[in-house]
Subunit: 153 residues, 3 copies
């Protein structure tokens, strides 16, 4: 159901992101899944690089954060088999590669938060932290991590 | 009991913070409450803006972090009904808007940590992360998020 | 077993890190331990200070992140009594003090991730977030926090 909704929005889940290093795309403890930070890549290619407020606009950052969250959902699906196992999205943390005077991190991370709400409805509403940072891996524009509660064990 | 202690300290819980965007002030999973990042606002007005070590002193940051944590506690109360549901404060993350050579993030976040300990006693002592950042939403001086364990379900 | 493996690698657990301020080295909720952010200190002395890509190389950062994670494991042992209580390492967050054009945060945090995998094997593989920041407490090069699932209660 949830994956169909993603497709009906004109998006699709990318292949499971391969970690850039020695860690897992996601880890489970009890009913919680912790999903590793994802940057706005399509396959191996970073599609939004640079700093918001310097190299990129807030509107571009908004698009970047949607790409990040689709990769997060792909990692989640790989871990639990089917997005319909989701009970609720619990907590999103968004890091925005920012010029020192860029202050619209919330607008950027809304790209991810709004997609989650459209896909998962009430179950998609979550607690959130959005912060700036002066540097991200590979010069990614945005990095997003997620905590999700899922069924069974 | 806990809210009375806050008032006996000369503080009071502000109204529940309205999220600036599409997310919740707090989200529950099992006995854990994840509270969204809060900045030093009173109502809609940011009262400490700018970077520590450039626009603001560590002492001002310390005050800012107390305002953040009162908003966090307000969001927590809105989620669980009464602060006396708290079993323990688990983990605090504090982001300090910093000039590149500012290194007293711990002193800033102590404002929040010490308030939690005075209000909740032993139950208020928590794990903590304090880091700098070059930019925060709306140019807030500090942003604080919290994980809390509560009773029942 | 796990602590012996650390020693067989030529490392040893340092004494439990004393928090620099009013918080705990680690906090437990259910079967989860949240361990406070640790910087690359030996005793009270910070051994890697400065910014990656300006004052320090990625290789130095890699060493710094190993020192951080040994302190994290020391805090974990103090909380649970014995590292053999570990069921799995769940989630690592690594903050790298970075020049604005430094983009190899992943390489830096690999020092910690790889040590965890060597010590704990499959149980040591974890979800991860690696980000840059323009400033850390005391000008530390790296700060690492960890979430771990442990036995019993």
């Amino acid at each position: 159901m949830y994956e169909k909704r993603i497709e009906s929005m004109g998006y699709h889940l990318p292949p499971m992101p391969a970690p850039a290093a020695r860690y897992l795309p996601a880890a489970r403890t009890g009913n919680l899944i912790f999903i590793s930070g994802q940057t706005p890549k399509v396959g191996d290619k970073l599609v939004y690089a640079g700093k918001l407020g310097q190299d990129l606009s807030a509107a571009e950052g908004y698009e970047a954060s949607k790409i990040c969250i689709l990769r997060v959902l792909s990692a989640l699906k790989a871990e639990v088999g089917d997005l319909d196992q989701v009970i609720r999205i619990v907590k999103l943390t968004g890091y925005v590669n920012s010029a020192p005077d860029f202050t619209k991190q919330s607008k950027v991370i809304d790209g991810a938060s709004e997609l989650l709400e459209v896909v998962f409805g009430e179950q998609g509403r979550h607690a959130r932290v959005a912060v700036g940072t002066n540097a991200l891996p590979g010069n990614a524009a945005v990095e997003i991590e997620l905590i999700v509660e899922v069924r069974g064990e």
